[in-house]
């Protein structure tokens, strides 16, 4: 167990060093779409909140706890590129000679994946608050939202790892990035279900992002500890386990083949 923890930390530090050499794709790019959408959508679509079926929340208040999830969804998988590069370059073969726990290469990267989303999430929340959002539960509510976004990033990364492992190509996982668009748009991240047409409402109801965003919105605007928050933690835990299992299965197959 201690070997796994040490190895995980080594993989984390190695990934963090790589990110320090090229911070753009790891820290800056993930937050740009969410940041732009925060500013632009508040300015352009605030009148949608005047619809009776929207509810009595101002649009900026409604949008920010949802749009911040886009930091995780549209900037996902940055560490999958180095995973593919390591597999292609024979790094994993060398690790096997050292009897290092191979799983730590996934856990260390996943941990870094959570940490790298922190600055972007903080910036989007700060800009959102400056543009009219509110945090009824103060700093505690904001911290819960930050935690949910980072966990969402970890959960969503599993599929990127599986593709990186199968292809050994650092570019291929990025072709999955547009997946974040329907996941975020067809959820309650931008508008409530009541405003959507029937087909979009049905899609949003079955979208796990809706559960996560509803938990985030409750933490910021409603009760800090709510049933919505509990469900979002359950959904994220299941999603993360499935993602890790998918990646681990791909890695085991890859190692068995080589």
């Amino acid at each position: 167990m201690r070997a796994l923890v040490n190895s995980t930390m080594l993989a984390f530090v190695r990934q963090a060093r790589e990110a320090r050499r090229d911070p753009g794709p790891f820290y800056v790019l993930p937050m740009l779409p969410a940041l732009l959408m925060t500013v632009v959508f508040i300015a352009l679509f605030e009148r949608i909140a005047t619809l009776e079926r929207f509810g009595d929340t101002a649009y900026a208040e409604f949008l920010v706890p949802g749009v911040v999830a886009l930091v995780a969804l549209l900037g996902a998988g940055a560490t999958s590129s180095s995973l593919a590069a390591d597999l292609r370059g024979g790094f994993f073969q060398r690790l096997r000679l050292l009897r290092a726990p191979i799983g730590s290469q996934l856990s260390g990267r996943l941990l870094f994946e959570a940490v790298r989303l922190l600055p972007g999430t903080a910036v989007v929340l700060a800009v959102g608050l400056a543009f009219g959002a509110t945090a009824h539960n103060g700093l505690a509510g904001i911290l819960v939202v930050v935690a949910l976004v980072t966990l969402l990033g970890v959960a969503f990364t599993g599929i990127f790892y599986a593709v990186a492992i199968r292809t050994h190509d650092p570019q291929t996982p990025f072709t999955l990035q547009p997946l974040g668009l329907p996941l975020s748009f067809l959820s309650t991240a931008l508008v409530p279900l009541a405003v959507m047409p029937e087909w979009a409402r049905t899609a949003a109801q079955f979208n796990p992002v809706t559960v996560v965003v509803d938990g985030s919105r409750q933490a910021m605007l409603g009760q800090l500890w709510s049933a919505e928050l509990g469900w979002s933690v359950v959904v994220l835990a299941v999603w993360t386990v499935l993602g890790v299992l998918l990646a681990w299965a791909a890695l085991s197959r890859d190692i068995a083949r080589s």
Binding site: L44, I48, P197
Partner: protein
């Protein structure tokens, strides 16, 4: 053979060569721009379609407002395709080999640019047809359809000038790819999603002075049957200005690269 006829024939050959190449790479040349534009139309209609029910919204449905924008998005998304091809021709020595033949080097550039406009017209027609299927209005009928597709093709010709200048100046594919995202602020800070009256003051100012906005307004007004002629004239002037500037620079750079030292 008179020189003009020979130049036209060579240009046609280059056009067909580029078209064949695009057919082999149909995913990037045709499918991706159509799908991305359609994706945008469907998602925004699903999420923000309700805004058309608010007081003061100028059209019957949200899709009526964004359909023209979706057509222009297909131009933006596919931009730089033939500029990248020209770079490959430079890198592979194809243009050097052409110098051994009695072919005017300008025919390569003109053939590629002409194909870029033709490709944009095909993609724009497909996106507009899909927008109509989604319920968008086209009160000007076939003439309106043709005019909007023509606007999109002309805009593609002008917009791609930027990519040709970048490709011929930097001579790297990264420079061409790196220019792709500049369309995002261009459409975001225009009347792409909502009319000026729905924007805060600072946003209205930016959108009004955005040179792309008259092109968008002109295209939309054609579809809504309320053709705004002054905007159409401004749109043509903007496109002519952009094309004049960028293709002058590109042609100068191209001549330097293809003329023996």
């Amino acid at each position: 053979m008179p020189r003009l006829r020979k130049f036209t024939r060579d240009t046609g050959l280059m056009f067909r060569r580029t078209a064949r190449e695009a057919t082999r790479n149909a995913g990037l040349a045709y499918v991706a721009p159509i799908l991305l534009s359609l994706f945008l139309l469907v998602l925004f209609q699903g999420v923000y379609g309700g805004i058309a029910d608010t007081a003061g919204w100028p059209t019957d449905a949200f899709v009526d407002w964004i359909a023209a924008g979706g057509v222009f998005v297909s131009v933006f998304v596919g931009a730089g395709y033939t500029a990248g091809g020209l770079l490959r021709d430079l890198d592979s020595g194809y243009l050097q080999r052409l110098r051994l033949l009695p072919v005017h080097p300008g025919a390569v550039l003109v053939g590629k640019v002409a194909f870029e406009a033709a490709r944009a017209a095909l993609v724009a027609a497909a996106v507009l047809a899909l927008a109509l299927v989604l319920g968008a209005d086209n009160r000007a009928g076939v003439a309106g359809f043709v005019l909007v597709v023509g606007l999109a093709a002309t805009f593609s010709f002008a917009w791609n000038g930027i990519f040709y200048v970048a490709a011929l100046t930097a001579r790297t594919h990264a420079a061409v790819l790196g220019l792709q995202p500049i369309f995002m602020p261009v459409i975001m800070f225009s009347t792409f999603w909502v009319p000026l009256s729905f924007m805060p003051g600072w946003y209205q100012t930016v959108a009004t002075w955005n040179p792309f906005n008259p092109v968008l307004v002109a295209g939309r007004s054609v579809l809504l049957g309320t053709t705004v002629w002054p905007d159409l004239v401004i749109a043509v002037a903007v496109m002519a200005g952009l094309a004049g500037l960028t293709y002058t620079l590109a042609a100068r750079r191209y001549t330097t690269l293809t003329t023996p030292a």
